[in-house]
């Protein structure tokens, strides 16, 4: 009883007495919201004991009557009211309910994106995904396209699972920037390549903190939902070096020294000798050697670009480009049909003007075309790489037989050209070079070939076969038709050492063809003046044959006697000299000329200077060397002069000229050649690209010879003088452009000139020594310290005594010696250090390396 009436009210009770009057007895409080008080009864005394008379329907009285016979219950009942605890519980449930309702409201489909987004996107992503509602989330999160039940199932590992990872979603937009297989690789590099590069650069072992083979999710570094101004690529130096085994405290303190060749990773694509141009060429012309006359900033001033050829080099080098040697596509050598007949070989059909003693050679491009003919190729292989027809010993039947095979190959080539020139060239080049017949460079080059001229070769050049046969049948010198001899004047007091031309009757101006009933070759008319010009230049005067006996003598070949010793100094060789061993190293144009003027020089020829020898090319200009004391004088044919048999030979300086498209079909020399008409000539580029692109060039002597010829300094167009040739896994490639801006190639470092080329004078700060040894900033010649940071030479200083002449020779662009001194770390660290300029990793280094860098880093 006392316990029940304890006035202590437990605070955890949810109900309390609701008696407003307070006149009820203290009670332990309502139970379940009901007043524990019961109605009063009137106990009755049964013997000595009082018994309650409560209605059993109202329950059983637990306490029973009081000892004095009164009821144990209080004066009455009350309506219990909720306690403060009950209100608190209700408040908690209300909060829970409101929270769940709010979450449900927020998770509803239209509002989910804005509700769940942890923050605004960066401006780049926000602009791309603008106005896409909740679908904008699906661009990066596959979960956004799922229901909440699918989230639960995915989290619990049952039911639907995400099939597209977040990096894959990133690559849907950024896939063009990275190769899919390497997108998640460290630095987007093949792990093996990265390992090799790491070992090569730092000499350190493979990173140990993180396996470099583990994929790295995009979100590891790029944290989104931090607002529009947040820099997604912002990383601290420590974060940058997370995976690195060798970590640097700062750039200026213990960062690695730059590579020895920095900032050059390779040689320049254009071989340009800065030192020589500065010290010699510009100085000789009293021109200022200003870097900015050739190097100009791009629109953003980030990169220094090279001015065009026309603005820089053309003024001095245009003549070399246009007037260098021509490229001979086809030429007919001189063959000795009689010797061939005697050797028992098949005598090829050969034009009369090109029949006689073996002479001439096969130009490189023609060798490539002949290499497609198995028999001709075999013959060329046996005759040797430096084979010339003049080397053929007519008494050596084997040599004659092989020469006949080559001649037959030329014959077959001409036949094919006559039938379908394009198909013949396409097929032969493709077969010989091992490239596809529809290769683009091949198509490009074929588009520039004079098809009509090639088709008509057989009809024009080989029209005199009858005369050839006839003359050879007579075992006599295959004389040229009169037209080919032009207005050759005879002289009774000839002092020329050359033999008189054979087959030309004295005092005759009729052509040989006419005399033998041959049709007149229209092309030969173009050839004749040139021939006479040659003869005139070399012989000065030419004797007419005075008797039929003299017709057996051959017209001396003025180039025949010229040999180029190993030293490169040309000398005029005596006919007695063994020309089979030391033949003339005729250039391509010389080969093309094939001026057979006989080799009957009777006296040793004087030595001719090199430049004079090169000037001998009768097809090029009017320079006429003196040979054997004869005066070579270009002269105009004088009408009526031919009437005098003793008059000196006067040769008309006429020759087939190059057409506007660059080709020349010279019937005089029976040569089809090409000369570029401009810098970066399309036809020449196409041919060089074609030859460079084939992989089997090293095993293909003809292709290799042609490639070396085209890329030499003295080759046609002189391309190789400036444009270097690189060798990579795909073969060779000619660097036609000065700079390549391939976005897929992104190295580990980047540099912008813009912030470094501000034009103001910066006071020289005191040198701050932070590093040790090589990295010390003492005695630094930094741009700031020089006080002229707008000056290119503050960083790019020419290395005295070094030239780039040798660096362009090889085909490995990484093996080179720059004429500039390398830039050292101290130069950059003079400014880029704590407290001065930014010196973080990302100032210079890129994380994402271009996909093609995999190959370049190997």
């Amino acid at each position: 009883m006392n316990q029940l009436r304890d006035p202590y009210l437990r605070p955890n009770n949810h109900w309390e007495c609701g008696s407003a009057s307070g006149d009820c007895d203290p009670c332990p409080g309502p139970v379940g919201g009901r007043c524990p008080a019961r109605p009063r009864c009137h106990p009755i005394k049964m013997g000595e004991k009082w018994v309650a008379t409560l209605d059993p329907k109202l329950g059983k009285c637990v306490l029973g009557p009081l000892p004095n016979g009164q009821c144990c219950q209080g004066p009455g009942t009350c309506s219990p009211r909720p306690s403060l605890r009950a209100y608190r519980t209700a408040f908690v449930w209300c909060c829970v309910a409101l929270t769940i309702a709010g979450l449900s409201f927020g998770f509803s489909k239209p509002r989910r994106a804005g509700f769940l987004a942890p923050g605004p996107l960066s401006s780049h992503h926000a602009q791309v995904l603008k106005g896409e509602g909740f679908d904008r989330c699906t661009a990066c999160h596959e979960a956004a396209s799922q229901t909440i039940s699918q989230w639960l199932a995915s989290t619990l590992g049952v039911g639907h699972h995400a099939t597209t990872s977040q990096p894959q979603l990133c690559l849907r937009c950024h896939g063009e920037q990275f190769a899919e297989s390497l997108a998640l690789a460290a630095h987007n590099l093949d792990p093996d390549v990265l390992g090799q590069f790491t070992a090569r650069v730092s000499g350190a072992a493979i990173p140990t903190s993180h396996s470099h083979r583990e994929p790295i999710a995009c979100s590891t570094c790029h944290r989104e939902h931090h607002g529009s101004t947040f820099n997604l690529s912002q990383l601290t130096d420590r974060q940058c070096q997370t995976c690195h085994a060798t970590q640097f405290q700062s750039f200026e303190s213990n960062h690695l020294e730059f590579p020895a060749s920095y900032p050059l990773r390779r040689r320049s694509r254009i071989a340009f000798d800065h030192a020589a141009h500065q010290a010699v060429h510009f100085a000789s012309k009293n021109r200022e050697f200003d870097c900015r006359s050739c190097h100009v900033a791009d629109a953003l001033q980030n990169v220094q670009l090279l001015q065009s050829y026309e603005r820089t080099c053309q003024e001095c080098h245009q003549q070399q480009v246009l007037e260098n040697e021509s490229l001979t596509l086809l030429t007919l050598p001189w063959i000795d049909t009689e010797a061939i007949r005697q050797s028992g070989s098949a005598v090829p059909q050969w034009p009369a003007p090109a029949s006689g003693q073996f002479d001439g050679s096969i130009p490189p491009l023609m060798k490539v075309l002949l290499a497609a003919d198995p028999q001709a190729r075999a013959a060329l292989d046996q005759l040797g790489f430096e084979f010339q027809f003049s080397d053929v010993d007519r008494s050596n039947h084997d040599q004659v037989r092989l020469a006949a095979e080559v001649a037959n190959g030329i014959n077959a080539l001409v036949d094919e050209l006559a039938e379908d020139a394009v198909a013949a060239l396409r097929h032969r080049l493709a077969q010989s070079l091992g490239c596809a017949e529809d290769a683009k460079p091949l198509n490009d080059w074929l588009a520039s070939v004079p098809i009509d001229a090639l088709r008509s070769l057989k009809a024009t050049w080989f029209a005199q076969n009858g005369a050839t046969s006839k003359l050879t049948d007579q075992n006599s010198w295959v004389a040229r038709p009169e037209s080919s001899m032009g207005v050759v004047k005879s002289t009774s007091n000839a002092t020329t050492p050359f033999a008189k031309p054979q087959g030309v009757p004295p005092n005759s101006s009729s052509t040989l063809g006419e005399r033998h009933g041959m049709p007149t070759n229209p092309l030969s008319s173009a050839w004749l003046p040139g021939e006479n010009d040659i003869l005139a230049r070399l012989g000065g005067v030419m004797d007419h044959p005075t008797s039929p006996q003299e017709s057996d003598e051959l017209v001396p070949n003025p180039l025949k006697g010229l040999v180029r010793p190993s030293s490169g100094q040309p000398v005029l060789k005596s006919p007695a000299f063994d020309n089979s061993q030391q033949s003339t190293a005729a250039t391509d144009s010389q080969v093309g000329s094939n001026e057979r003027v006989g080799d009957a020089a009777q006296t040793p020829a004087p030595k001719i200077p090199d430049d004079e020898l090169l000037a001998i090319n009768p097809l090029r200009d009017g320079n006429l060397p003196k040979i054997g004391g004869a005066l070579a004088t270009p002269s105009t044919p004088q009408p009526g002069a031919s009437d005098s048999p003793n008059a000196p030979i006067v040769v008309a300086p006429q020759s087939a000229a190059f057409t506007s498209d660059g080709w020349r079909v010279d019937g005089a020399t029976m040569t089809i050649s090409y000369r570029p008409g401009k810098h970066l000539d399309g036809s020449l580029q196409a041919l060089l690209n074609l030859i460079a692109s084939i992989e089997s060039k090293q095993e293909n002597s003809a292709a290799q010879h042609l490639f070396e010829h085209l890329t030499s300094d003295v080759g046609v167009g002189a391309c190789g003088k400036c444009h270097t040739v690189d060798r990579d896994s795909d073969g060779h490639s000619v660097n036609w452009k000065t700079q390549y801006r391939d976005p897929t190639i992104r190295g580990f470092t980047s540099f912008s000139h813009r912030p470094h080329l501000v034009s103001f004078e910066v006071p020289s700060p005191p040198p701050r020594v932070r590093g040790q040894g090589e990295g010390s900033l003492e005695n630094s010649d930094s741009p700031l310290m020089a006080g002229t940071n707008h000056n290119c030479t503050s960083c790019h200083q020419l290395e005295t005594g070094r030239t780039t002449a040798a660096q362009s020779r090889g085909d490995d662009p990484r093996v080179f010696a720059s004429d500039f001194a390398p830039i050292r770390k101290a130069t950059c660290a003079a400014c880029h250090q704590s407290g001065l300029a930014k010196n973080g990793c990302t100032e210079c280094h890129n994380y994402h390396i271009g996909s093609r860098a995999n190959a370049s880093l190997r």
Binding site: V92, V96, C137, A143, Q239
Partner: protein, 282 residues
Amino acid sequence: MAHQLKVLPRTALMQRRCRYAGLMLLVVAVLVAWFVYQRQNLQRDSFTSGYLLIGAVFFLAAYNLRKRIPSIPWLGSSSHWMQLHIYVALGSFFVFVWHVGLKIPNGVLEGCLAAMYLTVFASGLLGLFWTRTIPRRLTAVGEQVIFEQIPLLRREVVRQVRALLFESPAKSIVLCRFYVQRLAGFFERARPVSYLVRPNGHACRAIIREIEDLDRYLSIPHREAGRKLAELVRRKDDLDYHLALQGRLKIWLFLHIGLTYSLIIIAIVHGFTAHVFHGGLR
């Protein structure tokens, strides 16, 4: 047998607080160092701090559960739980600051969650302040009153007043009129909200002064009744003072506990969605 509360001396109390606070700061420092290490190594320190936060919230909410099951001795005393509750809550604030990055979260869900945490944390601080100051003020009153008994005691005071004024054989007309005109509202109505917010004795002192002023109109026996009436006025004011201050200790728990459950729910949803939308290599 009533449990005797062990009251620590003030210096010992301060030493204990310093000791616990130092330990809490040490743990926080270790945690921050861990977060920094993770962040510098491109690891997800937000998940680490998030898990720690939600763990702390669960632990703090478990104190309420502990109070419901006082019969398990190995759970530790409620006093120890209270100490842990305080210092874990203070430590969780540093983790929270690191988690949100010293900025106001931009997202709706995250904003609600942060606001919820801060409200609960602030209510906890307020409750801590009140539980440290109000008992001292109540002790100064001199009488220990159970909050739940206050209505009953107030009714008892009213009954005593009525008995004194109206049921006494020698009742005073002056006092009866004074009660009807001046004291009925004081005794029978609830105190205004301003008093509950800022309880004071102004009204009590004014009434007692007025009762004293009535002495010149009362006979000597009636003056004795006036003094008893003044004591009942003081008694009623003390009960109101208890009601106001103890009511604060009850009311702040409404906010603190009620929002704790909302905080837990939103935190779970936030963690769940963070995992679902985390992405990474998944």
